[in-house]
């Protein structure tokens, strides 16, 4: 698809550290994500996986180290940072759809305000995206009128509308009722198949097995182990990962 070398990292995280007060939440994190790769980050709560995900588009600042997207170092603040964020799609645990805007407006806002796309084109593209995630008929409604699963699919469409180079998912199904989890995961699996570069923080091991190219296991602010999903789930190396998997895979 692109002319750049496929081996170059699209997202590069080098030696990143961060504290929350006394808590060292990210310890010397190194992580490279290739174009088209789907990386699933798992680990116990408080392991720093969400913080890492949020640091990649600088919703969390870092104290040391370097993060770059597509060869460009994350800028500190301001216009440059906003421009870079437009290339990084983000899906939140709590959906965060704009509560005062309709579903359609939620999706068209970014293209219109950030990319200067005209309204008619933006709406046409937004409708196509909403159809694709299966909520096209909800376009004129407000977010609160939709179920959690529907809202999260709209949030994915909103991120995709910016035509991002990489998509970040910060526990996208953790706030959903069990019966709605699959409708969101299906959309994500579909995205992965189409070759989207994705970094997914999740507790859904099924998704990791089905869609991930690589599983990154974090604990206590460190990357403890990373491996292809089959290898990680059947034959984890570290004690920490064995312990974690034994706790979640017993049922």
């Amino acid at each position: 698809m692109t002319t750049e070398a496929p081996s170059a990292a699209l997202v590069s995280v080098q030696g990143v550290n961060k504290h929350f007060g006394q808590l060292h939440v990210l310890r010397d994190i190194d992580l490279d994500v290739r174009r088209g790769e789907v990386v699933v980050v798992i680990g116990p709560s408080g392991s720093g996986k969400s913080t890492l995900c949020r640091a990649i588009n600088r919703l969390e600042t870092i104290e040391s180290g370097e993060i770059s997207i597509d060869g460009k170092k994350l800028p500190e603040e301001g216009r440059e940072l906003a421009r870079l964020r437009a290339d990084v799609g983000m899906v939140f645990q709590s959906f965060n759809l704009f509560a005062h805007k309709t579903i359609l407006e939620n999706v068209t806002l970014g293209p219109i305000k950030v990319k200067g796309v005209d309204k008619a084109t933006a709406e046409k593209e937004a409708m196509a995206l909403l159809e694709r995630v299966g909520v096209g008929h909800q376009a004129p409604k407000l977010p609160a009128q939709l179920s959690g699963g529907q809202q999260q699919r709209v949030a994915i469409a909103r991120a995709l509308a910016m035509k991002p180079k990489v998509m970040l998912f910060d526990e996208p199904t953790s706030a959903l009722d069990p019966e709605m989890i699959n409708e969101v995961l299906d959309v994500m699996v579909e995205l992965a198949r189409e070759g989207m570069t994705m970094i997914v923080v999740t507790h859904e091991m099924g998704f990791a097995r089905k869609a991930a190219d690589r599983v990154v296991f974090m604990a206590d602010g460190q990357i403890v182990e990373q491996a292809p999903p089959e290898q990680f789930f059947t034959n984890p190396h570290s004690e920490r990962a064995k312990d974690f998997l034994s706790k979640i895979l017993t049922h």
Binding site: A86, V88, M90, H100, K113, R158
Partner: protein, 215 residues
């Protein structure tokens, strides 16, 4: 009734000025208050400091002193001259803006932080995040206190009577010269203020209904 109908000219002139003072000052107070309120939540420390300074100085100064300054201090500064009505408008706008800023700031704090994060995540800049996503939601949640501020402004316009502005607060003084009983005149003035405030309250209800947002 005679007190009213025999002096309709004084009443209409007075209340017309009151309404002009209110509308113009209200407009500028909302505008400036929004800017100051935005400064107070801005990520830039210098802007935040200025916003805080403004609110602390202006809100803590009695309105009479603010108007005193514009009526008598300002002309001595050698700046372009403005008449009493204009200086009353400037004073009322600056004073009310400090209250608007604080009301809006409290409204901004009611908007979940995820809204701003989502806005930043799709690439909106700070100003866009504020004007497109945060402030519209903040306005909705602060309509009642915001209207209280506007109602206070409406009544505060009467202070301008003390600075040679011919508005509703001055009606009694004018009619005293015509020999009208002060208490009757004041009751009429009070009555019209109640009417004006009721109109504002109606407007508040309209906006609350229109902007009702489901969460």
């Amino acid at each position: 009734m005679n007190t009213l109908f025999n002096n309709l000219d004084v009443f209409t002139t007075g209340f017309r000025t009151t309404i002009i003072l209110f509308l113009v000052s209200g407009f500028f107070a909302l505008l400036l208050g929004t800017v100051i309120g935005a400064m107070r939540v801005s990520p830039v420390p210098a802007l935040r400091a200025f916003g805080t300074l403004y609110v602390n100085v202006v809100r803590n100064t009695p309105l009479t002193l603010v108007l005193f300054f514009f009526a008598f201090g300002y002309p001595k500064l050698g700046l372009p001259e403005i008449d009493f009505t204009a200086s009353a408008i400037v004073g009322l706008s600056l004073y009310t803006a400090s209250y608007v800023a604080e009301v809006l700031r409290s409204g901004v704090n009611t908007v979940p932080v995820g809204q701003a994060e989502a806005a930043r995540a799709i690439g909106l800049r700070f100003i866009q995040t504020l004007t497109v996503v945060v402030l519209p939601q903040a306005f909705r949640s602060v309509l009642p206190p915001l209207f209280s501020v506007l109602i206070a402004l409406l009544k505060n316009t009467t202070v301008a009577a003390g600075f040679s502005v011919y508005e509703a607060g001055a009606i009694r003084a004018y009619l005293a010269e015509r020999g009208e009983p002060a208490i009757v005149v004041l009751l009429w003035v009070a009555f019209f203020f109640v009417v004006l405030v009721l109109i504002l309250a109606q407007l508040q209800r309209y906006f609350e209904k229109k902007w009702k947002v489901a969460r």
